[in-house]
C-alpha cells in the first residue's frame, strides 16, 4: 500500500543511514555507532572507500564551479545528505555570491541537520522529499521560492542514483526532472560501479552486501547503464569518466587508486 503523503516515515536511528556513513567516511562525527559499525564493515572489504567519497566530493566541487563559470546561479541538489565541509552552497555561493541552492533529501535526520546548518541563509533551503516523486519536488514551495525553472539550473544527482533499484524506475524520475528543466541546464551525476575499483569484484561485493543488509542496497551499474541517465543531454567534455579524470585541477598521479572507482559526468540540456 502506498504511504499517504502526509504520513511521515518513521525514524529509526538504530538503523544505519547512508548519509551518516558517508559523513563517517569523510572523517566527520555526524554519525552514530550503528553508522560507524556498518561503515567499518564496508571498509573491511574496501579500505579505500573514504578515498572514493573524497573523489566524489572533489568532483562535485569542480562540477559546481564549472556550472557557476557557465553562468548558472541555481542549484538543485537531490540526495544532499548530511552537510559536510565543502557543501554545494559554500562552493556555489563563493563562486557566485547570491546563488540559490535547494537541497533535497528523504532522510529526516539529514534534513533536520541541513536546516540547522543553513540557519538564516536566505539563498539556500532544504526540502524533505523523494527523488522518485519528482512532481512533489517540482511543486514544492521551497523550489518555487528558490528555483526559476525558466532559467538554467544545475541538477545534482551525486552519489544517489546507485541507491535506487531499477524496479523503482530511476530513469523515469530523472527523465521527469529533465523535462522540467530549461535549456542550458546541467545534470551532474556520480554513480558507483564495479568498473575502476582496484579490487577483485568479489571483494567489492562484500561492501555492496553491507548496504543490502542495511536495507539500502547499492546498485552497481555499468558505465553504459549510467550513461543512460543522460538521455536528452549533451555530454560536457570529457564525458562520463572516472571522477578524478573529469576536468582535473592537478595531475591525477596524485590521486589514490580507489578514487577511480565509479563514474562522474555532466550533461547539458539542449
Amino acid at each position: 500500500m502506498e504511504r499517504p503523503a502526509w504520513a511521515p516515515r518513521s525514524i529509526d536511528i538504530s538503523m544505519p543511514s547512508v548519509s551518516r556513513m558517508y559523513d563517517y567516511y569523510l572523517g566527520g562525527s555526524h554519525n552514530f555507532e550503528v553508522d560507524r559499525e556498518a561503515a567499518r564493515k564496508a571498509m573491511e572489504f574496501m579500505p579505500g572507500l573514504p578515498k572514493i567519497m573524497q573523489a566524489n566530493r572533489a568532483f562535485m566541487r569542480r562540477a559546481v564551479r564549472f556550472a557557476a563559470d557557465e553562468g548558472i546561479d541555481q542549484f538543485l541538489d537531490i540526495g544532499s545528505g548530511i552537510p559536510t565541509f565543502g557543501n554545494v552552497h559554500e562552493v556555489a555561493q563563493s563562486a557566485r555570491p547570491g546563488a540559490h541552492v535547494l537541497y533535497v533529501d528523504h532522510d529526516p535526520v539529514a534534513v533536520a541537520h541541513s536546516e540547522a546548518v543553513l540557519g538564516d541563509n536566505d539563498d539556500a533551503d532544504v526540502l524533505a522529499a523523494d527523488l522518485l516523486k519528482p512532481h512533489e519536488i517540482l511543486a514544492s514551495p521551497q523550489l518555487q521560492r528558490l528555483i526559476d525553472l525558466n532559467r538554467p539550473v544545475a541538477l545534482l544527482l551525486v552519489a544517489i542514483l546507485h541507491f535506487v533499484e531499477d524496479a523503482d524506475d530511476p530513469y523515469g524520475a530523472v527523465a521527469e526532472l529533465r523535462d522540467a528543466l530549461a535549456p542550458g541546464s546541467l545534470l551532474i551525476v556520480t554513480h558507483a560501479s564495479y568498473e575502476g575499483i582496484p579490487l577483485p569484484p568479489e571483494r567489492a561485493e562484500g561492501a555492496v552486501d553491507v548496504y543490502k543488509n542495511i536495507r539500502n542496497p547499492l546498485i552497481m551499474r555499468s558505465r553504459e547503464q549510467i550513461a543512460r541517465f543522460f538521455e536528452g543531454y549533451d555530454m560536457v567534455e570529457p564525458g562520463l569518466v572516472p571522477m578524478p579524470d573529469w576536468r582535473p585541477d592537478t595531475a591525477s598521479e596524485d590521486e589514490d587508486p580507489y578514487s577511480f572507482s565509479g563514474f562522474g559526468g555532466v550533461g547539458r540540456t539542449a
Binding site: H30, P108, V111
Partner: protein, 711 residues
C-alpha cells in the same frame, strides 16, 4: 608574495609543500593538493615565527594543530604525519641561523603544543558534531512524532467518526478495537464486543461460504472478502450487514490483523423483504399472488426426477352474482373468508394457496405423492366451502369448481399447466359446478380449439371469413322449390370450413352472435330479393333464417329486421325466422313480444327442431308460430323400408295436430325418395334434405328453381 630562490620565503614554501604532500593523502578535504598546500603556508609561517620567537608561545603551536582539524585533517594519522614533518623539516627549512640545539628544543615543544591543539580541536569538533547530529535526530524525531500524532489523531477521527462500523481483531479472532458506529449498530457496550471472539459471531442465516472465507483470510491465503452477514445483537434481534473483511499485514508482509468494515443493512433488508412481500402477495387476502405462485410452480415443475406436482384451480360458482347483488365490499369479505379457509387446507410442506385474481384461487402441492394428495387437497377445499359464509347477517352458500392437473415434474411449463387447469375448471363449471374434474388431454385439446375459435371470431367477421350456403325447401305436393334455409359457414384460415355447430355456441357466449346474426339476415334477405327478381314468374321464393336464443332477447331484433327488409326491398312474408323449440320453452310474454310483432308484420316464425324439447303441446297455441319444423330424428325411422310404424304414427299425429292449429309442417333430413313419398302421404307440407339438395351456393338454388320451373 614572490620568493627569491632559496631565500627564506622560498624555503618556507618548500616546507609547506613537503608538509602537504605528507598529510594530503590522509585528509578528507575536497580541496586539491595545491589548494591544500596554499592553506598550509600561513600555518607554516606561524610555526616558523614561533620557532624563532624570543619566548616560547604554546598557543601558536596549539593554533596550528587546531587549524589542521579545521582543514578537515581529522584522521589521527594526519597529526602523526604533520608532526613527523615538523620534526624533520621545520628547523631545517625555517631555522635559518639560530642555535640548532635551541631550535630543536623549541620545535619539540611546538610539536607538543600542536598535538595538544589538534586533540583539543578534534575533541571539540567531534563533540559539536555529535551534538549537532543528535539534535538533528531529535528534531527530526519530534517532527515525525508530531506528524505521527497528527496522523494518529486524523486516523482516530476517521475511525471514530466513520458512519460505517469498523472493528479490528487479531488473527486468533480477539477483537481489539471497535468504533462507535459499530457499537451503535450492535447496541452493545465495548466490553461486550471485545469479550467475544470473531468466530463466535455466528448466525443461523450465515451463508455457507462465510466461515470458509474467514479461515482463508486468517491463514493469510486471502486478502479480503465481502459478504452479506447477519449478527445477533445483545438483545437477540438480528443485525444485517454488508461486511468487508481485509487482512492487514506488517511491513514484512506477515499477516497481523483483520479489519472488518460493516454497513447496517437491516432496515434496507426489511424494506426489501416488505417490497418483495408486497410484490408477491395479494393485498386483499394476504395470500401469495400470481407472481409468487408462478415462481413456485416453475420451481415445482423444474424439480428433479421422481418429483411430481398437483394443482387445483378453483373458481367460485356465482361469485359475480354475489358481487352484483351485495356489493363489492361484501364480495371482498367473502373472498377474504374463502382465502382463510383455503389457507387452512394447504398447510403441509410443499403446499401453497394463492389468489390469481378475482375469485380464482389455486392450491399447489408438490413432492412424490401428489397423485393422491391432490385429490385429498381438492376434497379438503370442497369441504372447506361447505359451511355457509356469514356476510352482513346473511348466510351465503359458496360453491366452487375445481380443475385438477397432476403430473411429473419436468414435462410441462407453468403456462401450459395453468391453462390445462383453467380448462378443466371450466369443464367442472359447465358440468354444473360444485365439483372437481381431473384434467384430460383430449378435453384440453377440444377446449383449446374452442378457445382459439372464440378469440378468432370477432376478427373473422371483420375479415369476411363467413359465408352462407342455402338448402332448398321443397313443396312436397308438387316438388317445386319454394325457398331455402340460410346456413352460415366459417371459412377458417387454419381449420377450413366450419359448420354453425362449431362456432354459433361460441358466438352466443361472447355476444358476437348479434352482429353475426344481423349480417346473416342481411345477406340472406338480399339474396332472397335477388332470386325474386330473377324468378318473377316462379312464385315468391322464401328465405329461412335461424335466430339464436341470444338474438331473441336482443332489444334491436325487431327494428334491425324491419330495417333490413326495407333496405333490401323484400316483403315481410318472404322471410321466415327459425327459432329452436328449446329457446321458447317456458318463454314469457316479454320474450314472445318481439316475435309477435314480427309475426304481425307478416314474418313467418318456424319452431325449429320440434319434438326434441319436450314442449308443452298446449303451449303451442300461444306461440306466434306458423310452421313446425320436425326434427330429423322423426324422419330417420323412415329411411328404411318398411318404415318404422311407430314413427309413422307419431309424425301423422304431429301433422294432424299442427294442421288443426293452422300450422304448416316442414320436415328435415329427407334423404330418400321413399321417405319423401311417405312424408307427402302423411301430409307434411315442405321438406328439405340431401334427397333434394345439400346446402350450397345461391347459384345452385337458382339452377334448381329453373329446373323446377321448366320441368
Amino acid at each position: 608574495m614572490t620568493a627569491e630562490p632559496d631565500g627564506p620565503e622560498d624555503r618556507l614554501r618548500r616546507f609547506a609543500t613537503i608538509w602537504s604532500r605528507a598529510v594530503f593523502p590522509v585528509t578528507s578535504t575536497s580541496l586539491t593538493r595545491p589548494e591544500f598546500e596554499q592553506l598550509l603556508i600561513p600555518l607554516a609561517r606561524r610555526l616558523k615565527d614561533a620557532l624563532r620567537a624570543r619566548t616560547f608561545e604554546a598557543a601558536e603551536g596549539q593554533a596550528v594543530g587546531a587549524a589542521l582539524v579545521a582543514a578537515h585533517c581529522t584522521d589521527p594519522e594526519a597529526l602523526s604525519r604533520a608532526l613527523d614533518c615538523v620534526d624533520a623539516y621545520l628547523v631545517l627549512y625555517c631555522g635559518e641561523d639560530g642555535s640548532q640545539e635551541a631550535l630543536r628544543t623549541r620545535s619539540a615543544r611546538l610539536q607538543h603544543a600542536m598535538a595538544a591543539g589538534f586533540a583539543q580541536a578534534l575533541r571539540e569538533r567531534t563533540l559539536a558534531e555529535q551534538e549537532a547530529i543528535s539534535r538533528a535526530a531529535l528534531s527530526a524525531r519530534s517532527a515525525v512524532a508530531e506528524a505521527l500524532h497528527a496522523s494518529e489523531a486524523r486516523f482516530r477521527a476517521v475511525f471514530e467518526g466513520a458512519a460505517i462500523g469498523i472493528g479490528i481483531a487479531d488473527l486468533e479472532g480477539n477483537v481489539l478495537q471497535v468504533n462507535g458506529a459499530l457499537l451503535r449498530m450492535f447496541g452493545g457496550s465495548e466490553q461486550l464486543m471485545l469479550g467475544r471472539k470473531v468466530p463466535e459471531w455466528t448466525h443461523p442465516e450465515d451463508a455457507p461460504q462465510v466461515w470458509r472465507l474467514y479461515e482463508e483470510l486468517v491463514r493469510g491465503e486471502r486478502e479480503h472478502y465481502h459478504v452479506e452477514k447477519a449478527f445477533y445483537r445483545p438483545d437477540g434481534t438480528a443485525l444485517w450487514t454488508n461486511l468487508t473483511v481485509s487482512l492487514l499485514r506488517d511491513a514484512d508482509g506477515e499477516p497481523q490483523y483483520q479489519l472488518a468494515l460493516m454497513e447496517d443493512t437491516t432496515e434496507r433488508r426489511l424494506l426489501n423483504l416488505r417490497l418483495r412481500y408486497e410484490a408477491t402477495h395479494d393485498a386483499l387476502t394476504g395470500l401469495p399472488n400470481r407472481t409468487l405462485f408462478f415462481e413456485r410452480l416453475e420451481k415445482a415443475l423444474s424439480a428433479g426426477d421422481g418429483q411430481r406436482f398437483g394443482l387445483c384451480y378453483l373458481d367460485l360458482d356465482g361469485f359475480k352474482t354475489i358481487n352484483d347483488s351485495l356489493g363489492h365490499a361484501a364480495g371482498d369479505r367473502l373472498l377474504v373468508e374463502v382465502a382463510d379457509r383455503l389457507q387452512s387446507c394447504a398447510t403441509a410442506p410443499g403446499e401453497m394457496v394463492a389468489r390469481l385474481g378475482g375469485d380464482e384461487f389455486v392450491a399447489l402441492t408438490t413432492g412424490t405423492g401428489t397423485e393422491h394428495e391432490v385429490d385429498e387437497l381438492a376434497g379438503r377445499i370442497m369441504n372447506a366451502l361447505v359451511t355457509p359464509i356469514s356476510i352482513d347477517g346473511r348466510e351465503l352458500t359458496v360453491r366452487g369448481s375445481i380443475g385438477i392437473v397432476e403430473g411429473p415434474a419436468g414435462e410441462r411449463g407453468p403456462a401450459e399447466v395453468l391453462r390445462s387447469a383453467d380448462i378443466t375448471m371450466y369443464r367442472a363449471k359447465s358440468a354444473g359446478g360444485n365439483r372437481f374434474e381431473l384434467a384430460d388431454p383430449e378435453a384440453d385439446a377440444r377446449a383449446i380449439t374452442r378457445h382459439g375459435l372464440t378469440t378468432a371470431l370477432p376478427a373473422a367477421l371483420d375479415r369476411g371469413e363467413f359465408f352462407i350456403e342455402y338448402q332448398p325447401l321443397v313443396h312436397l305436393g308438387d316438388g317445386s322449390v319454394r325457398g331455402a334455409e340460410a346456413l352460415v359457414r366459417w371459412l377458417h384460415p387454419q381449420h377450413g370450413v366450419l359448420g354453425p355447430d362449431r362456432f354459433i355456441p361460441l358466438a352466443e357466449h361472447t355476444g358476437l352472435i348479434v352482429p353475426l346474426g344481423r349480417w346473416v339476415l342481411e345477406q340472406s334477405v338480399r339474396q332472397a330479393r335477388a332470386w325474386q327478381e330473377r324468378h318473377a314468374g316462379a312464385g315468391p321464393l322464401r328465405i329461412n333464417v335461424n335466430l339464436s336464443p341470444c338474438q331473441l332477447t336482443h332489444p334491436g331484433l325487431v327494428q334491425d329486421t324491419v330495417d333490413i327488409l326495407e333496405r333490401e326491398g323484400l316483403d315481410a312474408d318472404a322471410l321466415c325466422l327459425e327459432v329452436t323449440e328449446s329457446a321458447l320453452i317456458g318463454a314469457d310474454d316479454d320474450l314472445l313480444k318481439p316475435l309477435r310483432r314480427l309475426a304481425e308484420m307478416g314474418v313467418d316464425i318456424a319452431l325449429d327442431d320440434f319434438g326434441t324439447g319436450y314442449s308443452n303441446l298446449a303451449n303451442l297455441r300461444r306461440l306466434p308460430v306458423s310452421i313446425l319444423k320436425l326434427d330429423r330424428s322423426f324422419t330417420q325411422g323412415m329411411q328404411q323400408f318398411p318404415a318404422d310404424p311407430v314413427d309413422l304414427k307419431i309424425v301423422e299425429g304431429i301433422v294432424s295436430l299442427a294442421h288443426s292449429l293452422d300450422l304448416a309442417v316442414t320436415v328435415e333430413g329427407v334423404e330418400t325418395g321413399a321417405q319423401a313419398e311417405q312424408l307427402r302421404i302423411l301430409g307434411c307440407d315442405t321438406a328439405q334434405g340431401w334427397y333434394y339438395a345439400r346446402p350450397g351456393p345461391p347459384e345452385r338454388l337458382h339452377e334448381l328453381a329453373l329446373v323446377d320451373a321448366t320441368g
